[in-house]
Symmetry: C2
């Protein structure tokens, strides 16, 4: 109709621009790669449909859109778990053994074999039941949070949890615990024990800092981030900040949304979103730096991996290390704030004449134990995560009942953070994750923060003047380092392999993170 059917643009089918054409590759490898490209296309299309739904779609489209997304997911799943994929993987064992372990081909076969074996363990009926329960439970959660009615949410949460236990039983290796199996979906290869040790070190290491902050809470205020900030001016501001970092209209979009997220359709089609609150600048400003970090990871994956399942970040923890690096280590650093202040002043002249760069730096780093995880500061954030990590282990193990969950939540909030929870909506009902069946997801947020500091030590070693460069608005060396050491690899290596490759170590180390927090907040609150 007027614009003609989309078939023409649709049909660059045969160009196959990103498919390897190397003639020395065996036919089964080419066939595997073609199948995986098709599946990857479907997965990426799911992301585009999701992005569209959350940023563009008229609300009336929701019901059919759910079906459309389910359709691409179902087809992708069916195609991936097909016997033919397994047969191709088997026939490629000799080829794989003769390829360098770091080659794209070996990595593609290796990672696909793992994914395939894991996915084949999940009975089709269980997958369907989980999807249905998550959808229902998610709807119930939205309603329950609005009406502060945990009891109404509990039955569907119980079903989601039961199914997630069954899922863990289906996928876990012999001897692997359920919770380890769930963690593995989000941070492949890490164990509950390892996470517990890390979090325990963080809690112990921050105890005195939290006491210090508590005693000198009045030393830092956030006035510089409060005021009247119209959404369209915030949008202009975010763009003017992101562009020097690497955001450009050729390959990026920034759109408003209710719940910010990063998404992409390919390495050259990166979509980040943010939320403009009229009286505070923090959410949009630091939020868009955060999502930029996610976007840059996907943008800098080696183009040779495009349209393969290796074309994405290796894990949620590694992804979060990138978003938090840009949000916190860069965005909340003194150098960056001093560089950015004149740009803020160009948009909000009066406000940032009143508040100078140092006032902004202090506001950006105010510590304040709070009820809500997503509003937490750098120092207390991990405590929110620890609470969820402990509770979900107990829920999965069955040692904590859903009846007792709200009380357990409130008790830990009081003990760990010193805050009283006035309602379940601001307590146990605040996060979407459990309703969606994402048990084991939360730890990756804090692991990302910790890893970011560990990476920062290596960056400072390789680019000694990185912080001075940031203070001059020169982000190229940092971007290049991240691209070369992390991003370009996509998902070729497991999180632990990438740790070895990038830092030469086997484990996440909390020392740089603790040192960073002590230095920064010790100075601010001393």
């Amino acid at each position: 109709m007027c614009g003609l059917p989309p078939s023409v643009e649709m049909i660059l089918a045969e160009t196959r621009c990103y498919t390897e054409r190397m003639s020395d590759l065996p036919a089964p490898y080419t066939q595997l790669r073609e199948r995986l490209s098709e599946i990857h296309d479907l997965n990426k299309i799911g992301w585009v449909l999701n992005w569209d739904q959350r940023t563009m779609m008229a609300p009336g489209g929701a019901a059919v859109r759910a079906e459309q997304i389910a359709t691409v997911n179902r087809i992708a799943h069916d195609k991936f778990t097909a016997d033919e994929i397994g047969a191709l993987l088997e026939s490629l064992r000799d080829f794989e053994a003769n390829q360098p372990v770091e080659s794209d081909a070996a990595a593609l076969i290796r990672r696909t074999r793992y994914d395939y074996q894991r996915e084949r363990r999940v009975p089709g009926d269980l997958r369907v039941a989980m999807a249905r329960a998550a959808a229902l439970s998610n709807g119930a959660w939205v309603q329950a949070r609005r009406t502060n009615d945990y009891a109404a949410f509990k039955p569907s949460l119980a079903e989601t949890l039961d199914l997630k236990r069954a899922y863990a039983d289906a996928v876990r290796d012999p001897g692997q615990s359920r919770y380890d199996a769930l963690l593995d979906d989000y941070e492949h290869g890490i164990t509950t024990t390892e996470v517990a040790e890390i979090f325990s070190s963080v809690r112990d290491g921050l105890a005195d800092l939290i006491t210090l902050v508590h005693e000198h809470a009045d030393r830092v205020d956030d006035g510089a981030l409060k005021g009247d900030f119209p959404a369209d001016q915030q949008a202009t501001l975010c763009r003017s900040v992101l562009e020097p970092l690497g955001f450009n209209a050729r390959a990026w979009r920034l759109d408003p949304t209710v719940h910010p997220f990063a998404s992409n359709a390919s390495t050259q089609d990166i979509r980040i979103t943010t939320r403009y609150e009229p009286h505070t600048l923090g959410p949009a400003f630091f939020g868009s730096l955060h999502e930029f970090g996610h976007g840059l990871y996907e943008h800098q994956v080696d183009p040779a991996l495009e349209r393969t399942p290796l074309c994405r970040g290796t894990s949620l923890g590694w992804h979060e290390s990138q978003s938090r690096m840009w949000e916190n280590l860069v965005g909340r650093s003194r150098g960056f704030i001093h560089w950015i202040h004149p740009r803020l002043k160009r948009v909000f002249r009066k406000h940032f004449t009143r508040y100078d760069a140092e006032a902004l730096y202090r506001a950006a780093n105010r510590v304040q134990p709070s009820l809500i995880r997503i509003e937490a500061d750098e120092v207390t954030y991990t405590l929110h995560i620890v609470i969820r990590f402990e509770l979900e282990q107990e829920l999965v193990a069955g040692t904590l009942s859903l009846d007792d969950l709200p009380a357990a939540w409130n008790d830990r909030m009081r003990r760990y953070l010193g805050v009283d929870v006035p309602s379940d909506s601001q307590g146990v009902l605040q996060d979407v994750h459990w309703s969606s069946g994402y048990f084991g997801y939360f730890p990756t947020y804090s692991l990302g923060s910790i890893l970011a500091s560990q990476l920062w030590v290596a960056i400072q070693r390789d680019v000694p003047d990185v912080e001075q460069r940031i203070g001059r608005g020169d982000f190229a060396p940092l971007r290049a380092w991240l691209g070369e050491h992390i991003h370009k690899h996509g998902r070729k290596f497991t999180p632990r392999e990438l740790l070895q490759l990038t830092l030469g170590v086997d484990r996440i180390d909390v020392a740089p993170y603790l040192s960073y927090l002590h230095t920064k907040f010790g100075e601010l609150y001393a």
Copy 2:
């Protein structure tokens, strides 16, 4: 990453909100419908991806997007031409015979059987070759139009034309001409002879009117549509005009684009686009009325047909009858213009104080033979179509060579429209259609205009005060009539069946169209 994977929202999979659950339907019917819903989802996803590409996508995403669209198209095609579809259709013959012919079930089987048989006649290799040729030819056309280089375009046009001939040979029924077979893709059931008769009557019937207009060309000027109109104010204006017509944010979007089009993801997710030119109001104003007409057709399809191949307009001609009705019979009518003038004045006060409603009415209806089809007025538009209709018949039959095409074009432009073509870019290279292989598409534009007038007679009979209502900004009765008589049926009936059902006639009649043009333009140019 922050926003969580899209799986939750994706997975309302099992709600199947629009799938019939009637237990008295035989299993093969339910199976057929489920398969068709999946295929329909994929087709609609192709449209969403196309809409996104043309309105939202960063340009860097183009290469991978082409692959993604090709992937959903290929899967949809494979699933539709699968033997299982044929077997289900066969097994449903008795069931179909026992259903009322106007029932959804009978229509779904009947229309699907036709589509299936036709699509199965196309060899897979030919489909691939056509897709590749169209993509290449389309690229060559863009380049050739820019550089005014027909010779450079000719080889790829030749290949596209050859393949289209082969396609026509593959799909045509015994005794059916190639061009009839091509027409059928866009206006099922119409013949070349019938179109030729219609166009001949229009040409003959308009000859004296064109002479009249030519002699009194200076009686009407378009000053009321020329001025300074910033894009954002035009957007505000378009919205304020479309809303009383039926556009609402719950189910519609309006976005800017280079080449305007209407698209949709479902009946409750209608997306129209328009183009804002800084110094003339016509393209955005009348263009958005036009696209609204397309959108309303899809919006008012019976929700029971959602997620089936019946959920769309029955043909391009019928679609165009709706867009042109809203653009011309409504939008360029005196009543509408007088109603809309105060609204225009609210946005562009100074301009529309200078130009009153009557000046705007005259500007909106200025007749001016021109080089470019998409800029043509109501009186001369069909002459542009006749030229293309004649030339493409000769090209498909092989009686006109591509070497002689530009001269033949220019000759007919002089004879039919009295204009000299200064360059191929403004002549034979102006339209995208042939490069994409859309031979047989053009006639539907004019058939739509003619049909709109024929429908208008019936509307006036059933809603005698429809024009007075429009003059008061009351579009509800018109919308309801169109919904009840045309839109709700979607694609259940063929174009000719719908003509019978709606108007009780078997053929398109040019008399109301000629009468409308003579009355309106006779008065303006007398």
